[in-house]
Subunit: 362 residues, 2 copies
């Protein structure tokens, strides 16, 4: 994550993983969520904070979910329905349940199918937010599979040459196991920056960089510019301009929309604004394709070579997706998770309001 | 395709689709390829030229394939071996066969598996070039499925912050059917521009735009610059710079490498330079997920809304991936395929050398 999005050191208060997990679980339960589901939701969020992905962790997301439960937009007790099923696939109506809770269950179903036929694909519509999509992919990696997850949600992206928002930030994630190296975890919005980064930028006062957002007439803004009000810009696809490849970011966003939304039998937000999020979960059973141990050893060779790549002038080292997240996780498990003091204030308010124990800080 | 890559009008000579197909088939047969395989290879190339994707059509690729057959790098009579197989998956050793010929067969195998278990995944290593990856994906779309194809090949991409080339241009493609609209066909290198565009740029004398290539020390070149000699630059990931999202282009390239190369049990070119290309073919059977007619009608709604998006200042209209390719195909079927006069000269030379009838021009 770019430095501009990090919590400034003076504004951070550390909390232990377990304390954050307990309080988050308690908040979900107060929303009417079952104990099991509340723990699942807390696990998705706290795992994400542990990896340093503040944009999709407790601090940036929990209050939004609380709001959506309170507004009746999320169903705390969803009964998902399997609409179609085959040995390798399933289509699920999530009954307005939050995908940070139902996503892991969908991925486990994909994993079970992959054990039998080599690959499992589960699509889900009528769902809430998925949190950090990569979290669901890691469940496959932990089961010696490759996990690939995509989402269709929202309509904040302006297509290349366009002047109206059409597709969502539609992220794509993949996780794959290694033997001794930190496993690969790639998780990226197909817009130049993730939607949640905009919220975070507003909180930490970060400017927008060239190629991230457009004017309201669709013209890409190619200089650094202050963050604007919600309806005063559109998000550019990855690439920013046609010359730099924005048609590819737009195409990747459409790819995610097709496999998550269209394959679910649903319509994207530009046509059905109140339709919720749609998600696509795939597990590839490595054992069905090749020897698992050899795969992991080969991954080690690849990842070591990537991180040992000679750096360009001005840079310390080359990363691969998942490496810095792994390092942050080690540090945060040891020293706690840093939250912005304003987030701690929100926790104090909400725990008081819901009559649950205050979040313990370190 | 950007104007800079198009054949200048004065330099083009038109040939009929059928004539190009016949001569290309004859060239393959002279390389020792069976009649059936030669026709398959010609079909992949000519279909690509029809769609206007010059970079991966006959003009840019056939002479390279001829060279590889002549050098013994390609096997004209490959016996592919299925190394592992499950109801939804297969792993294939392509025996050094060209993937423009074996790719369609792999995709048909994926389609057959998807008919039975809802999804089919076929990975192939030890293969030659795939041509335009999107071609293989279209075979799924024609069978009322979604096709997704990825390739791991080469090591011309410098990872974000790096100073050494590591991954290939690793393209990703998807095709999905619609009812009345032109079907979606997205096919993009995960580098800022495709490797074949570099060859084409050299031929038509196009400059490199900002964010496409790096200095040899890894520094992204952010101004327009003349095309350089082969070893005087590296290719940047989609995004160009970290701030513009090059870590995402790099991540997508790694994703393609993992599912095509690693899942095949192979190693990427950076570790095994002579290992050939690796490909990943997936077919999702729409009928297993949702109603096919409804899916296609929904796709029509989405694609119509995308192409009717109000354009930004300075632009005529908004496209979706596959739309302009469809339009070009209509025009070229009617008026012939334009080839650079220098390509016609190559055809005259090679047909003379191989003692086959000269390519008929219009």
């Amino acid at each position: 994550m770019l430095d501009r999005f990090k919590v400034p050191a003076g504004d951070e208060i550390r909390v232990a993983e377990e304390a954050l997990r307990e309080t988050t679980t308690a908040v979900f339960e107060k929303m009417g969520v079952s104990a099991e589901h509340a723990a699942e939701g807390a696990n998705t969020l706290v795992s994400t904070d542990l990896r340093g992905v503040e944009t999709h962790g407790v601090s940036n997301m929990l209050r939004a979910y609380v709001q959506q439960y309170n507004d009746g937009k999320l169903n705390p007790r969803p009964n998902w329905r399997i609409l179609r099923e085959s040995p390798g696939t399933a289509t699920i109506d999530a009954d307005n349940g939050l995908a940070i809770i139902l996503g892991p269950a969908a991925m486990r179903m994909a994993i079970d199918k992959a054990k039998v036929v080599g690959v499992g694909v589960v699509v889900m519509h009528n769902a809430g937010h998925s949190g950090a999509l990569g979290h669901h992919a890691t469940l496959a990696a932990e089961a010696d599979m490759i996990g690939m997850v995509m989402t269709g949600a929202g309509s904040s992206m302006v297509p290349t040459f366009g002047a109206e928002p059409r597709l969502g930030t539609n992220p794509i994630a993949i996780a794959a196991p290694a033997k001794n190296e930190a496993f690969v975890l790639f998780d990226a919005a197909t817009t130049a920056i993730a939607g949640n980064k905009l919220r975070l930028a507003a909180r930490v006062g970060a400017d927008m960089l060239p190629g991230w957002i457009s004017e309201l007439d669709g013209t890409p803004i190619m200089e650094e510019t202050p963050m604007r009000e919600r309806n005063q810009f559109m998000q550019l696809p990855l690439g920013g301009t046609r010359e730099m490849g924005s048609h590819k970011g737009y195409g990747f966003a459409l790819m995610a929309e097709i496999v998550s939304t269209m394959l679910s039998g649903a319509l994207p937000a530009m046509l059905a604004p109140a339709s919720g999020s749609k998600h696509f979960f795939t597990a590839y059973n490595i054992e069905s394709f090749t020897d698992v141990e050899e795969f992991k050893e080969n991954m080690d060779l690849v990842l070591k070579m990537l991180r040992e790549t000679k750096p360009a002038p001005g840079h310390d080292r080359v990363l691969y997706p998942g490496l810095s997240e792994h390092e942050v996780e080690q540090e945060r498990r040891a020293n706690g998770i840093p939250l912005h003091k304003e987030v701690i204030q929100w926790f104090d308010d909400i725990t008081s309001e819901l009559s649950i124990p205050r979040l313990k800080t370190l």
